[in-house]
């Protein structure tokens, strides 16, 4: 527990590869059935995007947010940090929708810039606001899946959904190799930083490129070694993973059905 706490503190405010992975493993919903979680998240996602209603979006943001903070045990501040990741795209994207450029004076609000007009129409502004919340709701729904289901389990769901064996196997391996390479890269970077390799922009670019090049060479060597290791342990073209059987309870299905129906009702009433 002590170790976990320490790790937790350490990870705070970081956007590393480990952050979301870490929360998926410690989630309070870990014991729920993987397929159930993936399917629910996808259905919420589709309803949130498909119904395209600001009240549905706000409901999803709040409820899924609570589910993530309480159910998935992601500290509130960390969750806010996670929601901030796509904010740059979201703000720029919504600004692009709200504003228009035209050579003719159109729209309710406009400024004239010698050659063209910047204009905004009320409809466009409303569209941008709706989209802003819709996208945030969708991100929340995706986080519900990502923060409750470790990647191994997720890949297993894909396998059950008849994704080709080759892809499933590649995904399993890539997932493991990502952490190995991230670890190696982190150590290379630390040693470069301690030798003033990141002192200014030009040096940083050089160091970054050299580290990436070295990482590539190392990854090829490791690929060789790992294949030999797998063969020596009887690899015959398929890696078999054992999985805990997790049953779906009636309460879970009823709960999710009620939630989805509630979303549709909110849309229906607000129409």
């Amino acid at each position: 527990m002590e170790g976990q706490k320490h790790r937790h503190k350490h990870r705070h405010h970081s956007h590393g590869v480990q952050t979301m992975d870490f929360y998926a493993y410690q989630s309070g919903l870990r014991q729920w059935n993987g397929s159930y979680k993936v399917l629910s998240a996808l259905l919420i996602l589709i309803l949130c995007i498909g119904l395209n209603d600001i009240w549905v979006s706000l409901t999803v943001i709040v409820t899924v947010g609570m589910l993530n903070v309480i159910g998935n045990r992601v500290p509130f501040r960390q969750y806010v940090e996670l929601m901030k990741i796509p904010i740059a795209f979201l703000v720029l994207g919504c600004v692009a929708i709200a504003f228009g450029i035209s050579t003719k004076p159109v729209g309710e609000y406009r400024i004239y810039l010698k050659w063209f007009y910047f204009y905004m129409t009320k409809a466009d502004i409303w569209k941008a606001i709706e989209l802003f919340f819709k996208a945030l709701g969708a991100v929340g729904a995706m986080y519900f899946m990502a923060l409750s289901t470790p990647v191994g389990e997720l890949i297993n769901v894909l396998r059950k959904a008849h994704v080709p064996k080759l892809i499933v196997e590649l995904m399993n391996m890539i997932y493991r190799f990502i952490f190995i390479l991230t670890d190696v890269q982190g150590r290379m970077k630390r040693s470069a930083v301690s030798r003033l390799g990141y002192i200014d922009f030009k040096t940083s670019c050089g160091s970054f490129g050299k580290i990436a090049g070295n990482l590539f060479i190392l990854s090829l060597k490791k690929a060789d070694t790992y294949y030999d290791a797998m063969i020596s342990r009887g690899y015959d073209g398929e890696i078999r993973f054992l999985e805990e059987e997790k049953k779906v309870t009636f309460v879970q299905i009823a709960g999710m059905a009620a939630y989805l129906i509630a979303l549709v009702l909110i849309w229906y009433i607000g129409r």
Binding site: V95, S102, Y109, I167, M171, M173, I174, L181
Partner: protein, 248 residues
């Protein structure tokens, strides 16, 4: 202050805010929930033939030598790690490479399409870059269009006997720029502007993402060149080994 001046100030504040709060610049992943459902499905369907051809080419490589499986997996992991790293930037904002141009030069575009979609899934669920419903659109722009252009330019310049470093730079940079253009068009198709339709909207999206994407493309070009120089210096043998991965 006249009403006109007030409006101008409000607008300029909105613009400053939009460009001021750019804490993280990703390589133009369309975020989760941004595209309407029809477009999500449409872009997914468009990707299918490319993914199938990528799948069959990978299958062929594995039949030739089963050992390629760990190599391919490492290649995917490498592209992911490269794209997850903060790259040096002048402004202090935190940006990422796409790494797909490099991947296309090293492994060939059809392998990158399959590796790319896997990398995009992991980017969505591990880093929250991109999303699940926008996977099709992102796959098309980042794992298909960009790498194919990169690879095409690289091969073309090689045939024209242009300096290797220049061709690597151009391949990576133009691949990145092409990804950014395709993404802008994808966004414009989904959200045409009320005046001027898709074309006007595409100009808007191109314009608004230009300040973040243009420097990124140039930096990506430079970094890819430095990586390739390192590889040419230290990994002659390994580069030759991956040659067989290059053929589509």
């Amino acid at each position: 202050m006249t009403k006109h001046q007030k409006k101008l100030i409000v607008l300029s504040i909105a613009f400053a805010a939009a460009f001021g709060i750019v804490p993280q610049v990703n390589a133009m992943h369309i975020m989760e929930g941004y595209l309407p459902l029809g477009f999500c499905i449409g872009w997914g369907v468009i990707c299918v033939p490319f993914l199938l051809s990528g799948f069959f080419s990978i299958q062929k490589k594995l039949k030739a030598n089963r050992k390629n499986i760990t190599l391919l997996a490492m290649a995917g992991a490498f592209v992911f790690v490269i794209s997850s790293l903060k790259i040096p930037s002048v402004t202090g904002s935190c940006s990422h490479m796409t790494g797909t141009g490099l991947g296309a030069i090293l492994f060939g575009p059809s392998a990158v399409s399959i590796l790319g979609i896997i990398v995009l899934i992991f980017q969505a669920i591990l880093l929250a870059h991109g999303g699940l419903t926008t996977l099709g659109a992102n796959t098309f722009s980042m794992a298909i269009a960009g790498p194919f252009v990169s690879y095409g330019i690289f091969v073309l310049l090689k045939k024209l006997k242009v300096n290797r470093r220049v061709s690597v730079f151009l391949a990576a940079m133009l691949g990145d720029l092409f990804t950014y253009c395709v993404t802008s068009v994808q966004l414009a198709l989904a959200y045409p502007s009320s005046e001027g339709g898709v074309a006007a909207s595409a100009v808007k999206f191109l314009g608004i993402f230009a300040p973040t994407q243009l420097p990124l493309a140039i930096i990506e070009g430079f970094l890819t060149v430095i990586i390739m120089i390192t590889l040419e210096n230290y990994a002659q043998k390994e580069l030759k080994d991956t040659k067989y991965l290059e053929e589509a």
